[in-house]
């Protein structure tokens, strides 16, 4: 082929058939805003936001959903969803969400939190929201470190993992073991659904979406708190390109953080 044929015009043209004749297989969810995200190229925050928006659309709850954004890379998450949203202090999203849900019990309230937010400064708030069985949905994005502030060690950092505040690699004797917070919370009667999924491959992403749907249904059906931990990438702070970062999740994180459902309320399990 001549080079000229490979060069694309900068202007636009429509695909071969008029759109009406084509079946739409995928389009932007309504619950996602038009804003360009600030996330790094390849960051799985974008995938997870999209999955949440798809679930909100499919469950038809956009107009009664209220989101609580964390402190972390997703601090601007409220710009990316077309639902009412509030910005919480670091770690306090479950408490803030409790305040919203108790004030307006018929709304669907979800928090979106990173591993520093939920498993470090916010452990008390998430534990007690679970203990109370708050009807909330918690999306827990675990990328093994503090992304926004430049890649420090987090309670979820892997043994031996080098971060800016564990420059010699996480030393278990000095800095302790990674927290398996989802397994811990799954034990609590107030938790109706607790699962860990991953974003490192299309098949995993599809399973992650199903888990997110179940976590929202736990709230909608009044069963208890729904929690989904999602193993996520941080290409920038891991110093890897996006594909290598997904491989890091698959090869390094999954062995430490096994995937699966840790708690499924029988009312959720009964459905397809």
């Amino acid at each position: 082929m001549a080079i000229a044929e490979l060069t694309l015009p900068q202007t636009v043209s429509q695909p071969a058939l008029p759109p009406a004749a084509m079946q739409v297989v995928y389009k932007r969810p309504e619950a996602l805003s038009e804003a360009y995200t600030h996330y790094c190229p390849g960051c799985t925050h974008g995938i997870i936001h999209r999955l949440i928006a798809e679930v909100i659309d499919e469950l038809g709850i956009r107009e009664r959903t209220i989101a609580v954004a964390p402190v972390g890379c997703a601090v601007l998450a409220y710009e990316y969803f077309t639902v009412d949203a509030a910005e919480a202090a670091h770690g306090r999203a479950p408490a803030m969400a409790t305040g919203i849900k108790r004030a307006l019990p018929d709304r669907i309230v979800f928090t979106y939190q990173g591993d520093g937010d939920l498993a470090s400064i916010g452990t008390n708030e998430i534990i007690h929201a679970c203990a109370r069985g708050e009807l909330l949905t918690v999306i827990f994005v675990n990328n093994s470190l503090y992304g926004m502030t430049g890649g420090q060690m987090a309670p979820t950092t892997l043994p031996g993992q080098v971060t800016t505040s564990s420059p010699y690699g996480r030393d278990i004797r000095q800095q302790g073991w990674p927290l398996h917070i989802t397994e811990m919370l799954a034990m609590m009667p107030g938790v109706a659904y607790a699962a860990r999924r991953s974003t490192h491959a299309p098949a995993e992403i599809r399973k992650a979406k199903k888990a997110i749907e179940l976590a929202f249904r736990a709230q909608i059906e009044g069963l208890g708190l729904g929690l989904v931990e999602l193993l996520s990438s941080c290409p920038t702070n891991w110093g890897l390109n996006p594909m290598e970062a997904l491989a890091f999740i698959r090869d390094q994180m999954v062995p430490v953080y096994p995937l699966g459902d840790f708690k499924v309320h029988e009312a959720l399990a009964a459905r397809p």
């Binding site: 058939l17 079946q23 297989v25 790094c40």
Partner: protein
């Protein structure tokens, strides 16, 4: 060559992360030589050697909702390189 589907790419949304390029089962995605308005080389559809099937794996892995994915009722003959929609 006949395509069973196609994608419309929102050129300025793309950050050139290449997750779609890597995961496309048909290998019909690649990065453009030129840059978009935000300084990234965006993805383009390149059906010289195989065709898009509208499987939507690209849309599944894309963090930036770059793709709208269509399937044709009948497979359609395509030109070697498809244009993109901004």
């Amino acid at each position: 060559m006949a395509a069973k589907g196609t994608v419309v790419i929102d050129r300025n949304r793309c950050k050139g992360c290449e997750l779609c390029v890597y995961h496309c089962p048909q290998h019909v995605l690649k990065l453009d030589e030129t840059y978009n308005a935000r300084g990234y080389r965006p993805v383009i559809l390149d059906e010289r050697t195989s065709q898009c099937t509208g499987c939507a794996v690209c849309a599944v892995v894309c963090p930036d909702v770059v793709f709208t994915v269509y399937r044709f009722p009948q497979p359609v003959r395509t030109a070697p390189v498809r244009a993109v929609v901004n």
